[in-house]
Amino acid sequence: MKRRHTPCVLLADSNGLLRQTVAITARSAGLADVQEVSTLTSARQQLMQREFDALILRLDDQRSALQLLEAVRAGRTFTHKDVGVALIAEQCDHSLASETFTLGVRHLLLQPFRVKAVLTAMDALLSARPQAADKP
């Protein structure tokens, strides 16, 4: 899982224990530096300030989360519009599946899930970056 240069991942989730465990583990495993925030508002602020290599967002407020993702895909944030995204949700119906597919979401983590599932999704997102292998 270790990479030559440490990428940075934005994790927005209201569960502080999950966030901290993911962040510490990702760092110690050499997978990524994780910028953790508890709200979508903070996530939006982060996205307006810097670039991330992958995004993991909880859909507590589904509409706001999808609007934020639309802003990313439209290139209205500092992060590359094609950035890999995983979403965390309580459940998924046909409408959500369709919407997230359209927005290029690569992983949908449905509860209950484990920290390991988040880290595995993060690793997959980072590995799928076009520039991941070439970055000096």
């Binding site: 224990l17 465990t21 510490i24 110690s28 209950p112 484990r114 920290v115």
Partner: protein, 164 residues
């Protein structure tokens, strides 16, 4: 069953543990939550925050065990005091240190154990965050990192509470 050797810094270790004034204190909601989270993450029936005192291990937080302490003589965690990295026992019945341990041959029937040491600066180990199963298990590298991350959160909480 061979008894776990005492760490070379045992007296300093016990002094550090007692200075925290944590032994025999009431449950702590946040520590309970982290230990419960560990049990769910690893899907184990037992998870413990074990503090190893002179003659006993006392559980500050516990999932799946009714008792609040056991003798140090039978404590798997006593073997985890010697390193800063986790001790993993995939199958206690195949490990000479534990095969005839009463906690293996009798209730709760431990087969798998993994304990991440609560290590202070200077190498003093207070105890462990440990997960236990009644069937053999293997942990991969990422699992061990996750266990250590939860251990770090516990250590941070303990030291904060202890004013260290």
């Amino acid at each position: 069953m061979p008894a776990a050797p005492l760490p070379s810094n045992e007296s300093e270790r016990l002094a550090a543990l007692r200075a925290l004034l944590i032994l025999d204190t009431p449950p702590d909601q946040r520590l309970d939550r982290i230990v419960g989270f560990a049990a769910e993450e690893f899907d184990v029936p037992i998870a413990l925050l074990s503090l190893v005192d002179a003659d006993r291990q006392w559980f500050k937080a516990r999932v799946g065990l009714d008792v609040c302490e056991t003798t140090r003589e039978h404590a798997f965690c006593a073997y985890a005091l010697h390193a800063s990295t986790p001790l993993a026992v995939p199958d206690a019945l195949l490990d000479a240190r534990f095969a005839d341990n009463p906690l293996v041959t009798g209730a709760p029937g431990i087969r798998f154990y993994a304990g991440a040491p609560l290590c202070l600066e200077g190498g003093l180990v207070l105890g462990t965050l440990c997960i236990i199963d009644t069937r053999p298990r293997e942990l991969d590298t990422l699992d061990l990192h996750i266990l250590e991350a939860l251990r770090d959160l516990i250590l941070e909480e303990i030291l904060q509470e202890g004013g260290v």
